[in-house]
Symmetry: C2
Subunit: 444 residues, 2 copies
């Protein structure tokens, strides 16, 4: 009997999984019956932007955390698919840091060529999963009709992302702050922050980029506030970085070093939760956002029940091509091309990667670690191997560029690791570009 596989989510990870199976089918393999559940009306996950915040038109949490004028925050050369290049998709060189719509187009382009859309049930949310003797039952709801169905599956691949459920801590006095307070998840654009004094809490990508967006759109003062480590970039005038905010009194904020600021708006850039409300605790990953969530063999196979898989559950230096490496690996386990070792051997492998991760001395070594992880996966499948060391060097150059000018690093260009093509310089520098549409981007 043909196996039935559920893929939960049609973001970049779920799309990679569809593509992986399709590639096997094109190569002559018999593939299982696939149902990909996607709660949104289109695929692309985070890249499928919505103006909505909080709760969507179906009463579901809005998925995407992206916003107007979001450009790639890493060079596209680091995320390029090994089996579908930017050259192939766009037919001409483009810049290294494209805006959201351009990357969405690229991700979708690869899968639109084949007919995998037929596997996706859009507007359909997975509500609940049960382990049964010979697999799982999955209860899902068609959000348009309200119809619910419960079906049997042999394996489940969770590809629901982990940057959607905001981590929203409380701060003393915040309940009486009468300005605008939001989590980065609900930030959609900085235009209305013009002339305002804005506080960002957090010291990672969201704080950095939303802070710079506010600066770009004319905020009077952007104050960034860190808990553990300052980002420490050479911030432009009008942007400053302080230790953690410890309390609000009306619109006055006090920081751990005694500084005080009056602010009009607060954006909590405090990260996201791994959250799988459709899974019982025996199947649900629980982890901080890191490079090796515990409990996953090869970062994908659920140790407690190896018929369950996760794709894209790691924190991400690498993105699209890492999802590919994982999707090809998961596919080959399911197709029986890769034999899973027994539980003890899997546990030992997990321990090995966790120990290596724990021993990493710095950021640069994190990139190397993730490159090694990807290499380990690709070596086991027929996914095209690519020059991972070169990608690591690109990441290092990127970090260097950010140190030099945090407002201008996106104007830099890199050569493709896949095709060697040098990226084009975009017609307008990031700091001056106010139109992030694909039409404008592709106009010479």
């Amino acid at each position: 009997m043909v196996e039935r596989i559920a893929i939960i989510g049609a973001g970049p990870s779920g799309m990679a999984q569809l593509r992986a199976f399709e590639a096997a089918r094109e190569g002559g393999a018999e593939i299982p019956e696939i149902v990909c559940f996607e709660k949104q009306s289109d695929w692309g996950g985070q890249w499928n932007y919505s103006w909505r915040t909080g709760i969507d038109q179906h009463g579901e949490p809005v998925h995407s955390s992206m916003y107007r004028n979001l450009w790639s925050n890493g060079p596209k050369e680091a995320l390029e698919f090994a089996d579908y290049s930017f050259d192939e998709h766009f037919g001409k060189p483009i810049s290294s840091y494209p805006p959201r719509a351009v990357l969405w187009d690229y991700i979708a382009g690869r899968v639109e060529a084949s007919d995998v859309r037929r596997f996706v049930r859009f507007n359909t949310i997975v509500r609940w999963t049960r382990e049964t003797e010979d697999g799982f039952t999955v209860a899902s709801e068609n959000l348009t009709s309200g119809d619910t169905v419960t079906e049997q599956f042999d394996r489940i691949i969770v590809a629901s992302g982990h940057f959607s459920f905001p981590n929203v801590p409380d701060f003393e006095g915040l309940e009486n702050f009468t300005g605008e307070v939001m989590h980065a998840h609900d930030f959609r654009g900085a235009e209305r922050l013009e002339g305002k004094r804005v506080l960002m809490i957090g010291a990672s990508y969201s704080a950095e980029d939303i802070g710079m967006q506010a600066h770009k759109m004319g905020a009077e003062l952007v104050t960034l506030s860190y808990r553990s480590h300052a980002m420490g970039f050479d911030w432009p005038d009008g942007v400053e970085e302080l230790p953690l905010a410890i309390g609000f009194d009306g619109n006055r904020v006090t920081f751990r070093d005694g500084s005080v600021r009056e602010v009009d708006a607060v954006v909590l850039c405090t990260g996201y939760l791994h959250k799988y409300p459709f899974l019982p605790d025996s199947l649900a990953l629980s982890s901080p956002n890191n490079l090796y969530p515990d409990g996953l063999y090869k970062g994908t196979v659920w140790q407690q029940n190896p018929h369950l898989f996760y794709v894209g559950a790691q924190d991400q230096w690498f993105t699209f091509n890492m999802f590919d490496a994982q999707a090809w690996f998961v596919r080959d386990v399911i197709l029986g091309r890769i034999e899973l070792p027994d539980a003890e051997e899997r546990a030992a492998d997990i321990r090995h990667w966790l120990a290596e991760y724990a021993a990493l001395p710095d950021h640069d070594s994190e990139v190397v670690y993730q490159a090694n992880y990807i290499r380990d996966l690709i070596e086991r499948t027929d996914y095209p191997m690519f020059d991972l060391d070169e990608v690591v060097r690109i990441f290092q150059a990127w970090q260097q560029d950010k140190q030099v000018d945090i407002a201008r690093y996106r104007d830099k260009t890199y050569p493709s690791v896949m095709t060697g093509t040098m990226a084009a310089v975009h017609h307008t520098p990031w700091l001056e570009e106010m139109d992030d549409s694909i039409e404008r981007y592709l106009t010479p």
Copy 2:
């Protein structure tokens, strides 16, 4: 064997249900084993205010739609419990339109006296329900620990409210509006609308009250925009009412009558969805917000499976005392004190109430209809009957007061239907009162 009952939600409706069972127990009855699931950390439902918007600290949709400076929008004399008066709770007369915290205190006061809190599992969300041969299984998650359990219940009482999942329609061009856009559900206070031009879409309680809040807090212009009927109050200067907004172009809004306004913020006061993400479609109520949702015998018993009940599913003129009437009725069905007629008879009764509802000529008759519905319930149980005609008259006077002065109606007072006590005049008129704390309210 003792039956096991699940109550989903510990808002006013769930609390009424707990109180109903407790009253029976005090009267010597044997009551079933009760588990009340409440996803928040405290009871009170909507009345349990949170500064949070969108998604809460556990990654769940924020439940309450209430905001700072929310006062009762109907006279408290219309919602008073028949078995626990305001006199008994506060020990002195209070005004007719108390602020949120004061009503929360009152609701909680009644149940705190008894020991029903022991039945409530706080921070515990119901995830999924299945019909089984002899009842239901309910899967729930402890949001603090992440633990999930699946348990068997004989009956389920749904008391999860229906003003929490916002109905968020789209409007042409809204995706490019760069001002603040939110649904009333995420509105927490109008202070930051001072000096702003604000658009409210909708023509019901939220539009009216949030519009008046914005006016109270110094908005430059409040524009209300209706789809079906204007509210038509004698709005103060600085508040206007226009037909439906049909499109946005930047911050310019065009209305159906050709009017154009520039606005800084938009509040979608477009109501809420009946939504029960924890129920399969065979159990989930689906209805517009109205006085008699189809499918419920006596507005409470699920016709398709009479072991499932809903409390508080109606649109609400009456609130707390209507929930009581329903809770006592549901309790007595469960205790076997009331025998349910067969399916055909129940269907006929539903048809009867639906037909009467469909034939109502106006608003005033809606109040009478709901009063009749409540009377029909109370007559079947030992809940203390009260003068429902007098409550109807109070509702009529209230509507009159709103016609006279929409900014001052909350300064009026009414006598209690339960005790005859005349309400006190609050020390500060609503329009001037900026502190809605219970401490200030109770200070003479």
